[in-house]
Symmetry: C2
């Protein structure tokens, strides 16, 4: 059993943790692990060079969550984090004062940057970092070419283009995004490992991640949609929207910018029916959104209504099981 998951950061991480747990039960290897293989194809559009270090927020969120080191209470970063180095950087007047890098987190960035400067691809650097953690999931960046999401905003009457993280963290996505620009996307392509994971998957899952700046960025890599269309596996998506609101993050601000309503129906239709040239063979929406199922069915998207909240390991694992079951239908 090989499951390939298209994922952003926090939502993707939670889903992957649940999936890993489900597959260890459903396909046990007798040693606490699973005979099933999980590969995550991860958004790298939030990546940036910050004070000379390569920061990959989504890859790290997933790595820390699956590695058992994520600060679940805060939702991101490492447990027991401190910020002594960042205070030094601020004292030296460098970096973004509103984007604090934790000390433990910095270890990852320093190691990654060192690997990249030694000539490793991001895929190889991610594999080196992953060796340390008991992940049970293979982490793949969507591309080895840098693709950085920038956002056009208007501040004090002036049009500005800022890095996604500046809009997301500094402005808390409260300044309306005029549009998203994927800097570098034209020169990017899915890695051979990503293409292999899509081609040889038994099931492909679109995680409940931001449909615009996480999943949308992955899908925007030239060749990615074609690979997904050509895959023999069914593609099942999990709605990141429940009852008209993003489960986490500020997906509504992103959806609004691209003219899509913040509803499970609108996002499902935005992804589109695979039978009609879109992405999805199946779509999971929450029970509270059940009335939308008929609209989705009419749009050619087979929809399953299940509880979508991932409150704990048990509900997360159940959601993963539901997604795989929907894919089999």
């Amino acid at each position: 059993m090989r499951v390939t998951v298209i994922a952003g950061g926090v939502g993707g991480a939670r889903f992957l943790r649940g999936l890993r747990s489900h597959l260890r039960e459903a396909y046990p290897n007798g040693d606490g692990g699973s005979t099933a293989e999980i590969t995550a194809v991860v958004n790298t559009g939030d990546d940036m060079w910050l004070t000379g270090l390569r920061v990959c927020p989504d890859l790290d969120s997933i790595m820390y969550t699956l590695g058992g080191a994520n600060d679940d209470e805060r939702g991101w970063g490492r447990q027991g984090e401190s910020e002594r180095v960042s205070a030094e950087l601020t004292a030296y007047g460098i970096g973004w004062p509103w984007f604090t890098l934790g000390d433990l987190d910095l270890g990852t960035h320093i190691a990654r940057s060192s690997f990249l400067r030694d000539g490793l691809t991001l895929t190889e650097a991610t594999a080196r970092l992953s060796e340390r953690w008991p992940l049970g999931v293979r982490l793949l960046p969507m591309s080895d070419q840098p693709v950085e999401t920038h956002v056009e905003i208007v501040v004090d009457g002036k049009r500005r283009i800022v890095h996604f993280e500046e809009w997301w963290v500094k402005h808390r996505a409260a300044v309306p995004a005029q549009r998203f620009i994927q800097v570098g996307v034209d020169a990017a392509h899915p890695t051979p490992a990503v293409l292999h994971a899509i081609e040889h998957a038994d099931v492909i899952v679109v995680a409940p991640s931001n449909p615009v700046v996480s999943i949308g960025t992955v899908l925007g890599v030239p060749g990615m949609r074609a690979a997904l269309k050509a895959a023999k596996a069914p593609v099942v998506g999990v709605s990141p929207i429940i009852s008209g609101a993003a489960v986490r993050g500020m997906a509504d601000a992103c959806l609004t910018a691209i003219g899509v309503e913040t509803t499970a129906v609108a996002v499902g239709k935005h992804y589109g029916s695979r039978a009609r040239g879109g992405l999805l063979d199946a779509w999971l929406i929450d029970e509270t959104d059940a009335p939308g199922a008929a609209v989705l069915a009419a749009a050619g998207i087979p929809t399953t209504v299940v509880p979508l909240w991932m409150n704990d390991p048990a509900t997360s694992a159940q959601l993963a099981a539901d997604a795989l079951a929907a894919a089999r239908r």
Copy 2:
């Protein structure tokens, strides 16, 4: 009054702190500072790229000491240091496990590396870092070109060439050095700022630093000796050897490697009389080494016998005063 000091790390830092203190008393500016100017020309031969970060041990020792942030008890690094990031790097399997970078110290290395990668010279990067600290001394790297000291040693019967820090820290200089190699020295030259500081100095002091791998490395930069010879200022040296032993560090291992005895007399003769083509117009040795003064005088080196131990701010300031007085003779 302009004093230019050729300096290595710890010994140089202590001497500079004493000199700053003395000049604030001798040439007060009415505001707690001094009208005198101190410029330190600092050895960069111990510098290295470590996990993608540029580490400059001597510049940092001086910056932290003059900035009041040095861990005087340990002798190097920052007060109140922690090593959380280094533990992460070790967990990722990168870096030198025997060369721990403190968290606060890492802030300096990250900032410096970022400046260098932005295209600043090391001189400019050092000035940017210095802005943060109340130094009262202008810090100048000896050169903007990297010059890294490597050491030839024999380990398990095999000839190996290792970075100076590996020999110094990992091997505690206990493995005999066959020779020192200044990697990059042929392409290096003193910076314009260094040449200006030497040309326009009223006094030039050779700090009580390691004569081989600190002072020797500075002197080895092509053009440096010629600049010192041409300087109108007297050159006064302070012996780093007292009673046949290095005051700090393992200078004896370095001196032995180049065939120089570990005595104040031998080091004075190694530097040589300026009147006879060497470096020194004056040489300070400790009271315990007083019997050697006659030998030094015979070698054309005017020698002053004073207490050399820098035990506290008062003795350090007195030593600086003694050095300036010797230069005036």
